[in-house]
């Protein structure tokens, strides 16, 4: 390869990395001439962050008959009649105001047990959402608190993109609203619960649940869909029920967004297109599947005048308001160190390694942005492991080449032999890492699966870039005037031919 060709290839590669790096890292507020785009957010600011970096969203669910002290104060403040009514109706217990009737003769023990049982069902439902972290807890025995990651990107977290911010909160609100649906499955004649009548009559409470085998959400291209599986008896009941009237599926009083047209022929597997994100389809599927498997909430939540729907509150991350900035600065420092420290030892080859480290960082940021994986602190360490493997693979090979040069081989032969000797070791190490990452992705749940995907992308990038380093040896070797000394590697024997 000629010097010119070599320079052009190197320049093209570096230019490609620089351009991608600019898109990946530089956000531009107010982009002139961009047809209405007031801000371009870089890939890195569009990566979904885990709870440790962008905070959590929480909702407290109050069962019917329980109101918080804050809501109580707000309701009675400056209203003597209301105060008297509340004093007669509620009793203060465990930091809440609880309806005396709900407490019953056992001083609320049975009520507290029912709240705990509901929390267990909710925990089960939320585990199906596969959040990177979540918690469901019973607060003072009579309320349930649900905490999930906000999943904000940095741009959303800093409110550069309020639309994305509110869309994430709306998804969380949807999840809380539909997963807290109480009661059994029902088929109603109207979209409005109050105006509808049940299309299935049976003395036994919740008998309708038994006609469902389960439900699952899936994606088909851009379409988010929900598949419901019915039992043989369920098919017959559904066909009877919707023979003369449209039917709408509910869990208790909560509509599941699924309708059946009058006279529609129903089969054992029903597929519905869902308006909204995949998360919305998943909420319906989880709720229906849970009830079909007999896991129902006993109490109605946030059903009173004081607390109608759960309020979603976002919290600052436990690692601090600016955790994401520190996190980014740290990642940058590691990448710079990995890129430039080897230059001291390996000179020109160290620069090649630096280019590969930059390529790795840029490709990983782009891949994480495109796949929508949630990045956490553990995720960063997962991304660093393949980077370390790539650098060590390069250094091993460099050392191999150095050894070959030192025993007297000319430069080209030394490179060839050095790579040949490490060929299988590095190949099968990467195969093992890729296999392990596939297992992590497929078997793991939540954060582990997200880290598995990051590791898979990283391992593939590591191996591809290892060979790109080899290619760069070839490209750079065209400029070598002294075939016996290169990048600090020096032949000891003068001539071995």
């Amino acid at each position: 390869m000629g010097k010119v060709k070599s320079a052009i290839i190197t320049a093209l590669l570096v230019a490609a990395i620089v351009v991608l790096a600019l898109f990946a890292t530089i956000s531009v507020p107010e982009l002139p001439g961009s047809n209405g785009i007031d801000r371009y957010n870089s890939f890195i600011t569009n990566i979904n962050l885990g709870a440790d970096l962008s905070g959590e969203a929480s909702a407290t669910l109050y069962p019917a008959g329980v109101i918080s002290e804050s809501d109580y104060r707000r309701a009675v403040y400056g209203n003597a009649d209301k105060q008297q009514e509340y004093e007669e109706k509620y009793v203060r217990k465990n930091g809440f105001y609880i309806d005396k009737e709900k407490l019953g003769e056992d001083d609320g023990a049975a009520f507290a047990a029912s709240v705990k049982a509901d929390a267990e069902v909710l925990s089960d439902r939320f585990s199906e959402k596969e959040y990177s972290s979540y918690s469901v807890s019973v607060v003072n025995g009579y309320a349930i608190k649900i905490t999930v990651p906000t999943g904000f990107t940095y741009a959303e977290y800093r409110e550069y993109m309020t639309a994305g911010n509110s869309s994430k909160i709306s998804d969380i609100s949807h999840a809380v609203t539909y997963l807290m649906a109480d009661g059994g499955l029902k088929l109603w004649s109207s979209q409005t619960y109050e105006d509808g009548k049940s299309l299935y009559f049976e003395k036994e409470e919740n008998a309708f649940n038994g006609f469902f085998k389960g439900a699952r959400a899936f994606k088909a291209g851009d379409v988010n869909a929900l598949e419901i599986e019915l039992t043989a008896a369920g098919v017959s009941v559904f066909n009877d029920a919707v023979s003369e009237s449209d039917g709408y599926l509910y869990i208790g009083k909560t509509p599941m967004g699924l309708s059946f047209t009058s006279g529609q022929s129903v089969s054992d597997k029903l597929t519905f297109q869902v308006n909204g994100s995949f998360g919305v389809a998943k909420d319906y599927a989880i709720a229906i599947d849970s009830v079909a498997k007999g896991k129902m909430l006993v109490n109605a939540y946030n059903d009173s005048d004081e607390s109608t729907s759960p309020v979603i509150l976002t919290k600052t991350p436990a690692y601090g308001k600016y955790a994401a900035i520190y996190f980014g600065a740290f990642a940058l420092a590691v990448i710079l160190a990995a890129a430039f420290l080897p230059v001291i030892k390996y000179k020109k080859l160290g620069l090649v390694n630096a280019i590969m480290v930059a390529a790795y960082a840029v490709s990983l940021v782009t891949a994480i942005f495109l796949t929508g994986v949630e990045l956490t602190v553990a995720g960063l360490f997962t991304a660093l492991l393949p980077l370390a493997v790539m650098c060590f693979s390069n250094f091993f090979t460099f050392e191999g080449v150095r050894r070959e040069t030192e025993v007297g081989r000319v430069y080209a032969t030394a490179v060839k032999t050095g790579y040949k000797r490490t060929l299988f070791g590095i190949l099968d190490l990467h195969v093992i890492l890729i296999l392990a990452s596939v297992i992590m992705t497929l078997v793991g749940v939540g954060e582990l699966a997200a880290c598995g995907l990051i590791f898979l992308i990283g391992s593939i990038a590591s191996y591809v870039l290892y060979w790109l380093t080899r290619f760069m040896w070839y490209v750079l070797s065209s400029n070598v005037s002294d075939k016996n000394a290169f990048c600090g590697f020096k032949r000891e024997a003068e001539d071995d031919e």
Binding site: V138, V139, A323, Y326, F327, T376, L384
Partner: protein
């Protein structure tokens, strides 16, 4: 090169490791039954006591003389007077009613009466700064939040992932380096994972999904480290110059040749862990909250370094003897056979 003869230090390594594992597991089991469960996924992490301060524009409206109320200072003083300290402080956003919420989390073992007393003291301060509309709505409340453990699926899937990774490592080592290396790799994986769990139990780091991710990373780093060592061992066993050396000498020589790399990789990650969590501690509202994350990352990579540098060379000669087969035929042995 170093002068450590790890091949003959099996007893020392075994004593150190088994003592840590035994004490850690014992304490973990005790905590499991007494404090709500080390081995329950997220048990201690999700259950906590809180003092939640809900306030409405209190800094704007507070104070008879127009001075804003230093709510943070009031809370800190109330907690100090009650003799309690929180480990996480978070601030929640304002909602449509302009409400702000600050939540202080305390360990489940914190005295409930002391927390109740602290929240009453905060309320008294808030009341004394009352302005005419907002104060009845601003309030500090004490809560006990008991987590419903829903992490069984995460935990069991992580266990399956770990088991499969160990199995892949086991099979790969068997194919590439032979029986004795296979047993050594398996022992190293088990040793490192057990040590990781034991040290976390000793440090009272609760099990969360991050802990599980670091366990998997530790297993992967072990796989990388042992592969390097076995690769070097294989080369040294094949080398005719080493034909007269004993197995122990070759193991020590290989360990010495790979020690830099085997320390460098975990050390790099341990330094990264220390750095990132130092930065997070500066950023955090409550530095204690980053401690468990920092510890699990540090422990995972420290255990890996120890396992790869000390445990593998120590146990390999022993397992090689036990396996009764030569993983890699040495030149001298081949020659003897040919003769």
């Amino acid at each position: 090169m170093n002068n450590f003869k790890f091949s003959s230090k099996l007893r020392v390594v075994a004593i150190i490791s088994s003592a840590i594992i035994f004490v850690g597991m014992l304490l973990g089991t005790v905590f499991h039954f007494t404090l709500g469960g080390f081995f329950n996924y997220g048990g201690e992490y999700s259950s906590y006591k809180t003092v939640t301060v809900t306030y409405y524009w209190i800094e704007v409206n507070g104070g008879e003389d127009g001075n804003a109320l230093d709510l943070n200072g009031v809370c800190e003083k109330a907690f100090a007077d009650a003799g309690v300290s929180y480990y996480v402080k978070t601030q929640e956003s304002t909602d449509s009613s302009m409400r702000s919420v600050t939540e202080y989390r305390f360990l489940p073992s914190t005295d409930a009466d002391a927390l109740q007393k602290a929240s009453e003291a905060i309320n008294a301060e808030i009341d004394s700064y009352a302005s005419f509309t907002d104060i009845p709505l601003s309030i500090a409340t004490y809560s006990d939040e008991q987590a419903i453990i829903g992490g069984e699926r995460v935990l069991s899937m992580a266990a399956v992932t770990l088991a499969v990774i160990v199995a892949i490592h086991f099979i790969y080592t068997a194919i590439r380096f032979g029986l004795s290396a296979m047993f050594t790799a398996f022992a190293a994986d088990l040793h490192n994972l057990a040590l990781y769990a034991a040290v976390l139990a000793l440090c009272r780091v609760p099990i969360t999904s991050s802990v599980l991710v670091f366990a998997v990373l530790a297993a992967l780093a072990t796989a990388v480290g042992t592969t390097l060592t076995f690769e070097r061992l294989k080369r040294n066993f094949k080398d005719a110059d080493n034909a007269k050396k004993s197995v122990g000498e070759i193991v020590d020589m290989s360990a010495a040749q790979t020690v830099k790399t085997n320390i460098a990789l975990p050390a790099f990650f341990a330094i990264c862990a220390a750095l990132i969590f130092a930065l997070m501690a500066i950023s955090s509202l409550s530095p204690l909250s980053v401690l468990s994350g920092a510890l699990c990352a540090l422990v995972a990579f420290a255990v890996c370094g120890y396992g790869d540098v000390m445990f593998v060379p120590a146990i390999y000669p022993c397992l090689r003897k036990l396996s009764g087969k030569m993983a890699v035929k040495r030149p001298s042995a081949k020659k003897e056979k040919a003769d």
